[in-house]
Symmetry: C4
């Protein structure tokens, strides 16, 4: 196989198969580059460092984006090998709207965007960290990630209803609180949106302490919200716990039905 | 069927059946109106907006209440088609005490009440948001909402006992704290009711930081309460988790018993 | 049966059987008295009320304690009807060390104690609320209370180990934090005991905000402790959840084995 | 058996068997010494006590370390009786890298280290508390500790993925927050690392209140993070709950399969 054939490029940029040294090197190189990018984003947030080493930061940023851009182009170039669609355009479209492609794209966007419009989106560079998930896909943690993803997806409907109830509760609580506390502390509860901030801090039991009720009625409402916050934790936990229990059971059941030994043990009719 | 027959009106204001365009339009219109109402309640809480657009707010409020009132009247007019009672009065009574009717009624009450008694109950308008639940009933999230409702109902007794134990703990903690901290910080713990506020903030782990113990003994009691707060979360979570696990199992069991294939697989006595 | 026979007294002061009016009246009377006592303890904590209605408070307190004392004496008088021991003294001893008797005794203690030693134990009066649990025993919530009690008892060993690990973690964290933060904020972390207060507030995620790290190292340790706090909630919740799941399953299994219909359905060997 | 034979020494310093008085006395002595050490570390953190009783603290410290050192030497001396390796050196190496040996070693290290390098590691003395775990191993709580350990080990992969997601979320949130709040409050959000402190306090719902957003956008991000914090608790709880449920089920199943009575009951084919 030629070194630069499209198939070979695809193999290298995708998950490394056992023994494929070039692909492994590529993976390690990309992960290292991502890590260095994250560290640099953090270091650059220190003002003195940002000023002192501005040129190094810029150079490294340019180099990184160049490499990431080439990577994206190679992925687009080989995308029909991944998706096996009817035609190239279909593969391209399927790749372009895949979550991983969007993450890759967002990771280089902050570099190219200021060339077009003058908005500072540098913080999007932190999205590069999410690219590590791509690597995670390839190792022994992938099944855990898959299970967690599957559980959240499976119970999406239950979790969304929980979120809707939570939102309803937050809106109701913040409205009531606004009418109760606005007269006494107009600076803490100036309107319902500001009061919403208090509601979230209370219901999630964060309780920063920057906004809290001072009237008797306000304290009663706040207390009820805080107690409901305990229930708020119980609902998603129950949903996710039961999903975990179910998935584990199904896994085990499948294994047992396959081997059939369990069935025979249970019924003691091995000799039938 | 006539456009304005009672049956037709009932069909339109109730859940839209597939293909019933008029009913679908009515649903979307009511949801939009509810959403607009919520947004206006929020906007009106901004003092400058409330002053500037007072007339618009008033006009929209009047229009909304008019529409909602007509809707309520239509529901009452057609309620015997919903409840199939022996007589119209019985149906009317069953409708009037149903939770959805009460929510609908409370949503327009704040407009009519000031005409009778001069109390400001405008914040009740936020109850209109709860009307969205009526819409939720009609879509694919309804089964999730039903399951959550069923679980809370089924474990009502366990949850109530948990709440009673929590209340007992709060009362005990706030009394002890009052006797401990009252001498040192009489402004933070002036009486048991005020001390109750601290107890809730601690047990639910909100911890605003407006009231906290300063004496050594107070800190020990507070620490114990905070640790019990962790257990407080564990109890309802355990109750709800187990209920979810049970409901999922029952659902699956029912499916299996129906198809009977599982039973045969388990016992291997298909040919009996 | 004579009105004042020991057996009759026992029936009246114990759980009311269906139709026993006198016993029911006694139950309601005692519950009302307990509720009034709780309310008075709370009201008395308001200084102005305590001064203004001092005599009423005193009179009611005297009356309550008199009634509660008579009740205790009657329970002791009839205790051999409850415990069926070999002799009266054995029954008396069994009663005296039972949790309910200790609660009853503690509820009147604050009145009699100052006659002997001049310590203010009035706050113990709030223990009277726990007496309501006695009533709870008699109604439909008793099984819930029993299940929760059984679960905590059954998993006592697991929960104690969790508590020990928590304590270890708290001690370790507060020691480390003392050595880190003591130099920078000697007033917030003057010694390990004070630092323990911070550790509890962090691990339980209360976070009052009266004490928090300011050094970089302290913030790192604090962050780790806060994240471990999330795990701290997960452990008891997992323990209690699984116990609930198990108890529910056992209950259902027992019912099924009794009716036997489930077994037959599963195996399809009804006609054997 | 001679009093000072290696086997006898091993028996004494290891878990006491029923009836072995010398071993029991040794266990109690070591536990008491550990407890006293912990108490002294705590007392020494009180500056006035540290100054006043400096000599007593020093003397007790010296004595404790001497005893602990002898204990370690005895454990090394008898380690081949514990590990049954091919040769003594192999046993020694296996012992030296065991967690218990490392804990024992760390517990005396703070005394010996300053003789070599001038760093104050006295706080490591608190590690002596962890030595109590060694005692726990021998009693009825050991199975609970084992189960909890087994569960955490078994679900290590799921929990690690949860931790990774949490870390990703923290990093993303703190970066976004830095870019949002840095302009308004440069002293609270000077860089991404400092902003990380806020992210942990919010996601774990501690909420000290020393750092919180003041801009509208910052409050929205903070609210989302706090709500995700609720989900953060749900994930590990679900993982651990399901593991507990599974372990309990397996335990019970094993018991049932052994007795076989359950299988016969289920299938009603006792007489086959």
């Amino acid at each position: 196989m030629s070194l630069f054939s499209r198939r070979r490029i695809y193999q290298v940029i995708e998950k490394a198969r056992a023994g494929d040294v070039a692909s492994k090197v590529f993976d390690v190189f990309i992960i290292s580059l991502i890590m260095l990018n994250i560290i640099l984003v953090i270091l650059e947030s220190f003002e003195d460092l940002a000023v002192k080493y501005e040129e190094i930061f810029r150079a490294f940023e340019g180099l990184s984006v160049a490499i990431f851009t080439v990577e994206i182009l190679l992925r687009i170039y080989t995308c029909d090998l991944k998706f096996h669609m009817r035609n190239k355009f279909h593969s391209f479209f399927t790749y372009i709207i895949s979550p991983l492609a969007i993450i890759d794209f967002l990771a280089v966007l902050p570099f190219y965007l200021p060339l077009l419009i003058p908005i500072d989106l540098r913080f999007l560079r932190i999205l590069r960290l999410t690219r590590i998930l791509r690597v995670l896909k390839f190792n022994r943690y992938s099944s855990s990630l898959e299970i967690i993803g599957k559980i959240i997806k499976k119970r999406r409907s239950d979790l969304l209803v929980t979120m809707f109830i939570t939102f309803l509760l937050l809106l109701l609580a913040s409205s009531i609180m606004y009418y109760i506390e606005n007269d006494t502390q107009p600076e803490s509860f100036p309107n319902i949106i500001a009061s919403f901030w208090w509601a979230i801090a209370t219901l999630t039991t964060v309780g920063y302490g920057d906004v809290y009720p001072v009237t008797a009625l306000g304290k009663i409402v706040s207390g009820i919200i805080a107690l409901l916050g305990v229930g708020l934790v119980a609902l998603p936990t129950g949903i996710i716990s039961s999903a975990f229990v179910e998935i584990l059971k199904r896994k085990k059941l499948l294994r047992k039905l396959n081997t059939a030994s369990f069935v025979e043990k249970i019924c003691g009719i091995k000799g039938d």
